[in-house]
């Protein structure tokens, strides 16, 4: 088995570098197609996310994957980035290291936010894309399937993914979903159009929200965000009216004073809501909603500080789950490598078994010729005896091959078997 990976990720490369190397779906397709043309005997998968761009190459049998320089050049050439600029930020891994790395990546142990669940889907999507183009093969198939299996094991056997750590995800999954049973019939009002607003929108849409209204002082920005998320832009003058109708409010403006004061809420919003439950997530600093608004019945107001404690608790809980997750990754890496090494011995094993079978058959034919009066039942008994004898003879060398494969390369033992039993190269 020969595996190689070249790429950059958040620990070694800045956002600026990752942005220059990032591939969208179409670009990844084009890059893999050109790869296949350049290296038809090598399998390849390209993983490109916000935090990493990694090109995995694999070769089986007599072939070797291209050298790390070729891989790096392929990445750089596609984006017309001088290779010298990239070189210091690129990471190269081979064989065992590649396996361990991808398993950690898929299990989200190498993510910027450890335990974030999106990476598993991204790894799967990258593999599916490569498979669709035809740049994968048996080795990458087994490799990526094992990575996905490892990630699922980590998710199922450790509490790593149960603890959310981003404020919007905690707010939606741990608080808003305890107020509302469903979000598809709720009105979501997003005040502000920044990054946090967008992240919150993503979680809300994932939770099923459909009626999205975006209010911003700059209506144009509201329109852009609304267009992106299939929502409705709201003019700033209609903010209070929408607050009356809203069920969920996410506020992320950069205002230096509260945009909704207690007085305004008491006067324009609260009386018309008739104590209908309202979830307000105030992500702005300084805050957009006066904190005393949260004292109103059925108004659940959360600021960043309110959720920071939960966030920290979850981070700590994830840290405690890390050793168990790393252990699973190590186990799966060892198993995968042992299996991969054992697979390299398959031709020798097959040859050995064939040789024994041929000898057995010759000897049986000779015996049956010498003793022609044997009944069918006796013949069968003798044949079974010979099969059992061969199986017992072969068992120790095959077990030794498996044991050696668990510890490292079985090449020496394979050579010894070839010489001992005079097997062909």
């Amino acid at each position: 088995m020969k595996l190689r990976m070249v790429g950059c990720h958040h620990r070694h490369a800045s956002v600026a570098v990752r942005e220059r190397l990032a591939f969208n779906n179409n670009q990844a397709e084009a890059a893999l197609v050109s790869w296949r043309e350049a290296y038809p005997d090598t399998e390849a998968v390209l993983l490109s996310t916000c935090n990493r761009v990694e090109l995995y190459a694999a070769a089986e049998g007599q072939h070797l994957p291209p050298c790390s320089k070729s891989l790096a050049e392929h990445l750089a050439y596609f984006h017309q980035v001088p290779i010298d600029e990239l070189q210091p930020t690129l990471v190269t891994l081979d064989d065992d290291e590649v396996v361990h790395h991808l398993f950690r990546v898929a299990a989200s142990l190498d993510s910027m936010v450890v335990g974030e669940p999106q990476i598993l889907a991204q790894v799967k999507k990258s593999y599916e894309l490569a498979r669709g183009i035809g740049s994968t093969g048996p080795l990458t198939h087994q490799f990526f399937q094992a990575a996905l299996r490892t990630a699922r094991r980590v998710a199922g056997e450790t509490p790593l993914h149960r603890h959310r750590v981003s404020i919007p995800s905690i707010a939606i999954a741990d608080f808003a979903s305890r107020i509302f049973e469903r979000f598809d019939d709720k009105m979501v009002l997003v005040v502000g159009a920044g990054e946090m607003a967008e992240e919150s929108l993503r979680y809300l849409v994932d939770a099923g929200a459909r009626n999205l209204q975006i209010a911003n002082r700059n209506l144009r920005r509201a329109q852009v965000l609304a267009e992106k998320w299939h929502g409705t832009p709201v003019a700033w003058d209609h903010l209070y009216e929408r607050l009356v109708e809203a069920d969920v409010v996410i506020s992320t403006t950069g205002a230096d004073q509260p945009i909704v004061t207690l007085e305004a809420y008491r006067k324009y919003v609260a009386p018309r809501r008739h104590q209908r439950p309202l979830f307000i997530l105030d992500l702005a600093v300084p805050r957009d909603f006066e904190p005393t608004i949260g004292n109103y019945l059925e108004t659940y107001l959360y600021s960043i500080d309110d959720l920071a404690n939960t966030c920290n608790q979850n981070r700590q809980a994830r840290q405690t789950a890390l050793p168990a997750a790393e252990k699973i990754v190590s186990q799966e890496t060892l198993n995968f490598l042992a299996e991969a090494r054992y697979r390299t011995t398959v031709p020798v094993v097959a040859e050995l078994q064939d040789g024994f079978r041929r000898t057995k058959q010759d000897e049986l034919d000779r015996l049956f010729r010498k003793v022609p009066n044997l009944e069918d039942r006796d013949r069968q008994e003798i044949e079974q005896f010979a099969d059992r004898l061969i199986a017992k003879f072969l068992h120790p060398p095959l077990e030794s091959l498996r044991d050696i494969s668990r510890q490292g390369s079985p090449r020496q033992l394979v050579e010894s078997l070839r010489r001992l039993f005079q097997l062909k190269e």
Partner: protein, 291 residues
Amino acid sequence: MASGVNIFCFTACYFAAWMLELAGLTARYGWHRLVMLAFAGAGSAAQLWYLIDRARQTPAAPLATTFDWCLLAAWILAIVYLGLVFYSPGTSIGLFLLPLILLLIGAAQFASQVPLAARQASQFWGVVHGVTLLLGTVTVCLGFLSGSMYLIQSHRLRKAIPPLVSFRLPSLEWLDWVNSRALRWSALTMGAGLLSGVILTHMQHQTDPDYRLWTDPVVLSLAAMLVWLITAEIFRLVYPAARQGRKVAYLTLAAFVFLVFMLFSITVLDTVHGSKSHENEAALPRMGVSV
């Protein structure tokens, strides 16, 4: 009992399920829910068997005596519990619902086993009376349950307490839905129960000039509860702010207080509906038809 199933069997099962719910607050294992379900399922099956056995022995059961009536209400709540465990797995509903089931079984221990048939005059109105009050009791219990959980969930959300794997409650929206419907159905069924009871009493005591219906503590507590439920429902319909949320929760909690008093009247006080003290009247000749 001839079947070998007695009250202890299913009470112990429900109690074990409740203990497992309580233990789940500190630690939950993979088998936890399965064992809890097994106990609750075994309890409800045993209780059903017990009720069937009672019905075989007493043809008018399971509504013939206040004893059977309490057990039947407990069994319906046990079925509701099993349904909710499947509908909303992982929530701690059993923590609240199982004690109510045990409370009703406990109330049955103090209730009379003298057939109410001796006091009833019409099979039709007797059945209507028994069934509507049974459904009313169940809906008031469910209202109390959802109201309590609503207030706890709301309190935890206000204090920004993160959810725990060991203690999860349904969403406020779902609890509110159950709560408001429980209040409405309680008013309807309890109203029908009181009305049928009045008709029944009128038929039975029309020739008895000394009988005073409104001196019976059960009738009084039921009437008070009904007045409360109707007022609460009107309040809810007229005042928009009381249509959902905390206010409905408080209304259903108050309704439960009336129910507890009614159960106390049925089981402990010496009333026309029968208490332990009436058991010596079991030998009275049967009048009319059974319920």
